[in-house]
Symmetry: C2
Subunit: 327 residues, 2 copies
């Protein structure tokens, strides 16, 4: 990239994002100091990397890429029931990454720094000959011993999911110009769900002590249900008619029922998928209401392995996940 | 990359590196939980990214790349006076990254996990069409309010450096086959210094409360002295004859005195460069001895801006850094 140097990028674009974190030292030092954890609280950390042309499309607005990179990490914190406190970022600029791209990227990031009131605390900028890559490390906090894990489900526990499923995968198809039959408003809705996911932070935090296991849906509903089931040494049963779909996803399904597989196995939902004992139902519905997000009970855990999806007649649908996949 | 999937890579190669960190949950969850900080301690975090063909040469052994990636982050913690407790890693595998490369990379990393007794706590593996990139986030701990910063030097404070300077830059030349005049043993020494730097963790921790400012030399002695001077709003004066050189660097200088500029301005030293009041000299020499590393007083801070290097006759050498560079 020509134009601004790394120092100038940090000085002019990134330093303002760090101003609410005294321990970030205005990004001038070798490392940042986290705030002192209050007694009984622990820090929770997650780290992801996203690459242009892999996790983003070249047409995606750079600001949305930034927000997605941050939000997918926040979704990991939500799945642990943690509350975010700040983040670190490594920007790996490619040969073709323009100054305007970086400015638009940081502008989008700045919007989410405001939206989540979450400071940038440090990081790195490098230049390299490949595609643009961003790696974010998000730091959250939780009560000691009170994080949501994947491995706590028991046989008989219900399987719940927040929001609606499949919008992200359909949004990717919209971005690839493959959903032209849908009304423009529905295409826009799906595209937005794909580009700027909503981490379910409030719900995740509320589920601590209520849910027995939790994950965020990033690989796809069936696959991530498989991760929960496998970690808990159980089988997952999903009753497909209960899987919550948005009006736009229902429209897509009306145009072609083969989209059902996309909805159930596509990724990029960033909804919370969690297990809970049957008697927690009222509590869960109440917490979800307080968190401003809909939740749906879509199945249960049983002894066995893999994930099994059945239709309204109890017939098996061919979207199984047979235990932990090494492929 | 063909062969092992991300899941299999994590399962077979990375999981063993996480076994000493209970909060890493064997790398099976969405995020990791840091241990509870003892009262009065804070966490210190740094994040860097390194790319093949930029920060590594294609001939570098993959295991050394891994150790360098980890160690440059540990060097940042050393410069803050922090003690490392664990690290996170995002591996961005390129199209040409082979399974053997990844295995050798993780083998080198495993050696340093043992050497520093430092667990891998989490991270991510992605595939993308560019060069191999690794981003590491290192977590350290320090006493609250007791970290080394860059901005504490005062006029009259001395400028000190650990170890020897310039070996990393010469080691890069060795790797590029440009130092064939040197004896093989000296070439090997320099290459080792370039490929596997030694973070000065023990010295950094010992300097807390003694040094008034500190940085690690990654960009080059003159440039990083400039960062210290600029952060402290002072000028740096370096007396070149006092800059400590290794026998191999002295040999190189005998073959061509123009290497002096390489030594003073090249990067990749990962030595600590720090400021201290003149009356701290005995204390510093004693702490350095306890830490098993040589330190040298190479100059001082004065009012003014930039970094000025003088030779044995007090003549200015042309390796100035005129304040903070935006280029």
């Amino acid at each position: 990239m020509s134009g601004l140097s790394e120092f100038a990028l940090i000085d002019t674009l990134l330093k303002p994002l760090a101003r609410r974190a005294p321990g970030a030292f205005a990004l001038t030092d070798d490392a940042a100091v986290l705030p002192v954890a209050p007694p009984g609280e622990v820090f929770v950390i997650t780290k992801d990397a996203l690459a242009a042309d892999v996790h983003f499309l070249s047409d995606d607005p750079p600001g949305d890429m930034a927000r997605k990179a941050l939000r997918t990490n926040l979704s990991d914190l939500a799945a642990m029931g943690a509350e975010p406190v700040g983040f670190f970022m490594a920007l790996c600029l490619g040969q073709e990454t323009s100054e305007n791209f970086v400015k638009a990227f940081v502008k989008g990031l700045a919007e989410d720094v405001e939206h989540f009131d979450l400071p940038l605390m440090g990081g790195d900028i490098i230049r390299q000959p490949g595609p643009f890559i961003v790696s974010i490390t998000a730091v959250g906090k939780a009560r000691e011993g009170a994080v949501l894990r994947r491995n706590g489900a028991e046989a008989g526990h219900h399987l719940w999911v927040s929001g609606t499923i499949g919008d992200g995968a359909l949004g990717l198809l919209v971005a690839q110009d493959e959903m032209k039959n849908l009304p423009a408003a529905e295409q826009d809705y799906l595209l937005g769900r794909y580009r700027v996911p909503e981490p379910r932070l409030s719900l995740g935090k509320a589920l601590v002590g209520v849910a027995s296991a939790c994950i965020d849906v990033s690989d796809g509903l069936v696959s991530d249900a498989g991760h929960l089931a496998q970690a808990s040494d159980l089988a997952g049963q999903i009753f497909q008619p209960n899987v919550p779909l948005s009006p736009a996803a229902l429209s897509a399904l009306q145009t072609d029922e083969r989209y059902l597989e996309t909805l159930l196995t596509g990724g990029d939902d960033y909804e919370l998928l969690f297990a809970a004992p049957p008697d927690a139902e009222d509590k869960i519905l109440s917490l979800a209401k307080q968190s401003g997000v809909v939740v749906s009970c879509i199945g249960e855990f049983t002894k066995g392995t893999g994930v099994h999806v059945t239709d309204k007649d109890g017939m098996a649908l061919p979207f199984h996940q047979r235990g932990y996949q090494h492929s």
